[in-house]
Amino acid sequence: MEHGTQNSDPVVSNRTMEIVVAGLFALVALVVMADSIRVGNGWGSDGPKAGYFPFYVGLIMLVSSLATLTVNLWRHSGERTAFVEKHQLALVLKVLVPSAVFVILTAFLGIYLSAVLFIAFFMHWVGKYPLKTILPVAILVPAGLFVMFEIWFLVPLPKGPVETMFGF
């Protein structure tokens, strides 16, 4: 059953994603319930125990996710619709992967330098901008954030070796 649009193939169908997500919900529900039983889901000497409320939260989540799971296992119509197509996934990853790298870099370089690199890279890679457009944006945005957070509102953000070099 190939019903993808002409310019791109579906990577995964809606039905598969529905089943995967409902299954993950069921898994989370089981973890919540198991942990609630561990801390006690009944009635203690001084009232409801710590797991009393979360246990039912987990139970409702389990029942609802199983319902969604059953509906989707039973119904085959979702197979035809794509959850995400190849070119869409490529676009999403184009944001997601650099963002993840930016987050990891933040741990080592601080947020300002990572932001400069991230914005510059993204503008170069996705937007194909010339250096004279990239540099002002990539430098001025983090600089603006620095002034706003560190100086005006006195909220410290993660800093790295470069900021330390300048005495911050």
Binding site: P48, S64, L91, A100, M123
Partner: protein, 515 residues
Amino acid sequence: MPEREGNLEALGSLIHGFGVLADPMNIAYMFIGITLGVLIGVLPGLGGANGVAILLPLTFSMSPTSAIIMLSCIYWGALFGGAITSVLFNIPGEPWSVATTFDGHPMAQKGHAGEALTAAFTSSFFGAFVAVLLITFLAPVIAGFALRFGPAEFFAVQLLTFCSFVGMGSESPFKVLCAMMLGFALAAVGLDSVTGELRMTFGSVEMLRGFDFLIAVIGLFGIGEILLTMEEGLAFKGKSAKINAKVVWETWKSLPRYWVTAIRGSIVGCWMGITPGGATPASFMSYGLAKRFSKNRQNFGNGEVEGVVAPETAAHAAGTSALLPMLTLGIPGSPTAAVLLGGLLIWGLQPGPLLFVEQKEFVWGLIASMYLGNIAGLIVVLTTVPVFASILRIPFSIIAPVIVVICAVGAYTVHNAFLDIVMMLVFGVVGYVFKKLSYPLAPLVLALVLGDMAESSFRQAMLVSQGDLAIFWSNPLVGSIVTLALVMLFWPVLSALLRKRQSRQDGGTQVIPVK
């Protein structure tokens, strides 16, 4: 006449509230808030809820009154900003601006963008104004009434809030429940405040802190939205707006003709805002009603001013009146109201009936700021539309990384924790997947915010009754709220049964789609 006395007292408190605003710094925060809010409303991927969440840490150094004034003005600004993108770019910045695109964008295409925007802003202002009047006179009454609430009554009201999502949502009820329970489960992570026991931390010190809803909001609504926007490969093709004093004046002269639509929209909006129906259904409902009763019915969808007035009054009335249950009962009517509530909790203010007794100055300062904030908003948007419209013309490949950086900054500043930025990214992916599979995000966020409160009122109620659920029917008040909640919860089943019976009576053989 106790009622008249109550009204007079409200007026007196309100005048006192305006006194709080006399501080020039508060007026300055108001304008800063509105401008930031419009910016948030205009930028793709930033909405009211996560905009307020990101900017919340900025207000930690202010007094609670100044902080909430600035934050609520960001909220008004975001509401106004949505109309700009809807009219000029046919892109609804927020779900409740969808109905505004129906007639607003055709007007812009015909070269009447100025009129459409003026009509949109003015009706937003009108809707918000009606809702603020309602809050002024109704909030003290509800708060006074709620002072007599016990834990069972509070849990009943919270239950009603959550069950309404199931009954009134357009998504599958099972998905609403799943998303909502995930919110409750995440709220339970960390130290249990009653027994002191650790729940679902699995030995991790980082998990001790639990999941902060601000991180969830920034990830779900911010990063998730960026991923969705990117997927659509968005290219903005906007109409230019010419707003000058003459256009504004001419439009204002024509607006009184639509007074019935405006008042109807405000009533629909106020009702849907107080009950957690929310601004989105309110705007659609108001648009539908306006279309049904209009003389120019056939012109709707082709650029009819009335089709802009109707959804905008309703959306703003709903957005504003969502703060009424938040202030009086501690139950926010929208995700953005939930973020504001989270802000109050951070400053050690417990929203609920006692707020009106213990924090009078704060509450009335906030209500007074709603009046002035909306006037300030109207001035700001009418004068700065071209500037904001030009921001929208900045290509997405520049906006996207900047917004990701801003979201990361927002996530980090909540607890000064690096792990929160990672969590934000995870929530972003979750938000993307949930949106595509139509798992609703609002109940998740609300459950995450209200989880602790709901749990503690439930446990207290159970403690009082020694575990007997009959306490939820122990008096007519709590009984009727809980019954109403259950009707809401089972509404999808009930309505399906009713439809089935109806079609059987009609003798029809059509298949009823099972949702």
